[in-house]
């Protein structure tokens, strides 16, 4: 089966006053139907350009973008506009029409698609219910909170029953609690309506929360791609490690100490692995930092441990964890890691 989104050798160069700037460099990418696909990278890496190539808001200078097998580059303006109606998009700054109320904002894409007014209103009311804002139909965007605005934007993006939803830093302007709620809503939408979701973000937490597939972009190149589990537990490239380990690895004190990063990837939350290791191997470890989550009774996340200086004891402890399917990596003071 064709992937729903496919990039073949896509490059994009901007010609600026300061000379050409290559935002995307030979990107090859396949997103399967039903995925929640996270594209992560530092700011300026080219993520925004990449996501805009999916609906041709940015036209690649080279290569092909295919949606369900159809090459966007071969479409005329009218066909392209029809295609865009099947790809919803939400933004960091919501981009709602400030002079229209909530209901009319949601009706907007339907007006463009030529849907009859009565039908559009009915559909908009349905959508408001899905995003939990039925009581705000007559409010104006300026009366809503950030989270509520993004909910309206999501409802608007879903109005035309798109097959794909693009999210461009959709939670970057929101506080952590609201971010969680919006991500939960996106997940629900993905499951309920089988919509493929592409998420652009610089926040690893967002990807961890809902994505099943991840691509890492750096300086216009796709440096790593794979299932979220793989990329998180075994990041291969320097930039991936930097994004995955974030601060923890960099905060470590310099010295002869032995630090390891322990990755929990779906082990039982109820098994006290670290305590067992300490008791069994009779080692004293020091927790330098930890970021753990309990999802459906399984532990996800990572922990930085300071191991005892004696090699034998340390090896024994590491071995103990590895036997229990916990991934252990050594971390040096510079943030570099090597897999054990």
């Amino acid at each position: 089966m064709n992937p729903i989104v496919e990039f073949k050798n896509v490059s994009k160069t901007f010609y600026t006053k300061n000379g050409p700037f290559q935002a995307l460099n030979q990107i090859n990418l396949a997103i399967q139907e039903g995925d929640i696909f996270g594209i992560i990278g530092l700011s300026g890496a080219g993520k925004s350009t990449l996501v805009r190539c999916i609906n041709y808001l940015e036209v690649p200078t080279e290569g092909e973008v295919r949606i369900a097998g159809r090459d966007l580059g071969k479409m005329n303006q009218k066909e392209l506009r029809r295609q865009r109606q099947e790809i919803g998009m939400i933004f960091q700054n919501f981009n709602l029409l400030m002079q229209r109320n909530v209901l009319d904002n949601i009706c907007f894409p339907l007006e463009i698609a030529g849907v009859k007014k009565a039908d559009a209103r009915k559909r908009a009311e349905e959508l408001l219910e899905i995003v939990g804002l039925s009581d705000k139909a007559k409010s104006y965007p300026s009366q809503l909170s950030g989270g509520q605005k993004q909910r309206v934007a999501i409802a608007r993006a879903l109005a035309t029953n798109p097959k794909i939803l693009l999210c461009d830093e959709a939670t970057s302007a929101l506080d952590p609690t609201t971010t969680k709620a919006i991500l939960a809503l996106l997940k629900e939408i993905n499951q309920k309506f089988k919509i493929t979701i592409v998420i652009i973000t610089h926040e690893m937490a967002v990807v961890e929360e809902i994505c099943n597939q991840v691509a890492i972009v750096d300086a216009g190149k796709l440096v790593e791609t794979g299932s979220a589990t793989d990329v998180f537990s075994k990041p291969q490239t320097e930039i991936a490690k930097q994004l995955v380990y974030k601060e923890e690895a960099n905060q470590l004190e310099v010295g002869g100490k032995r630090y390891v990063r322990v990755v929990f990837d779906g082990n039982s939350s109820f098994e006290p692995a670290i305590a067992d290791m300490i008791l069994n191997c009779r080692v004293r470890v020091n927790i330098m930092g930890a970021d753990m989550k309990n999802i459906d009774g399984k532990a996800y996340g990572q922990m930085i441990l300071q191991m005892p200086d004696e090699d034998v004891k340390a090896q024994q402890a590491i071995h103990y964890l590895e036997e229990r399917n916990i991934i252990v990596e050594e971390v040096t003071a510079h943030g570099n890691t090597g897999t054990h």
Binding site: N55, L57, Q77, L80, R81, R82, Q83, R84, Q85, I87, G88, M89, F91, N93, N95, L96, L97, M98, Q99, R100, N101, F108, P109, E111, I112, A113, S139, Y140, S142, Q143, T160, L166
Partner: protein
């Protein structure tokens, strides 16, 4: 001069002034509005980038805008005669007023539409909206408040210009002020005329601002 006569004269002058102002503004919008839209659409980052067209329009607007109105008023006399049949009176004044106001209005439309955030336009593009739909359903409605304020400014500016036409017997309150105040040294009549002009501008301004405030949905609650 008898008070009654004076009132009658001022009333007629006011009507003439309003007639010139409103008709000129309306006609200037007919020309200036599409010009303003064209200025926006053909920009480098516009909906239909056409750098050459944009440059030409830009220069054209600037040239017309930099000619002092008094000079323009006299310079277009042959054209006025051709269109209206005479070069004096309030109807004749409409011709130079429209020529002076249209580029001014084009600039104001341009700056109002520029205030609309690019993100909103991008959102509309992502929904598959055509450039025409974006102009009609996004740019103009979203800039509504600013467009109404612009219209108020245009009205008072054109009213000011129309008073200048008094120099060439253009009719209206300006004409009265120049005839009595300047040529006949009747300062009191000139003063009254000026007060009436100020009142008209005040009323226009107030009404325009109220409408723009009432229709703006951004500041409520």
């Amino acid at each position: 001069m008898e008070t009654q006569e004076l009132i009658k004269m001022l009333a007629e002058g006011s009507v003439d002034t309003l007639y010139m102002t409103l008709v000129s503004t309306a006609l200037a919008y007919v020309i200036g509005f599409p010009m303003g839209i064209a200025l926006i659409v053909t920009r480098k980052d516009g909906l239909k980038p056409m750098p050459a067209v944009n440059r030409i329009l830009d220069i054209f607007v600037n040239i017309l805008r930099s000619i002092p109105f008094l000079i323009l008023l006299i310079a277009v006399t042959p054209l006025t005669k051709l269109i209206v049949g005479k070069s004096y009176g309030s109807t004749a004044t409409i011709v130079p007023l429209v020529i002076a106001a249209a580029p001014f209005i084009a600039r104001m439309i341009e700056s109002s539409l520029l205030e609309v955030e690019h993100g909103v336009v991008e959102a509309a593009l992502s929904m598959g909206a055509s450039p025409l739909k974006i102009i009609v359903k996004v740019l103009i409605p979203e800039a509504k408040t600013s467009l109404i304020v612009g219209c108020t400014i245009a009205l008072s500016t054109i009213l000011g210009y129309s008073a200048m036409a008094g120099v060439v017997a253009g009719g209206g309150l300006g004409d009265i002020a120049i005839r009595y105040g300047y040529h006949r040294y009747q300062t009191d009549i000139m003063l009254i005329t000026v007060i009436v002009l100020v009142l008209i501008v005040q009323i226009l301004q107030e009404v325009g601002m109220q409408i723009s405030k009432r229709t703006d949905k951004r500041v409520r609650g």
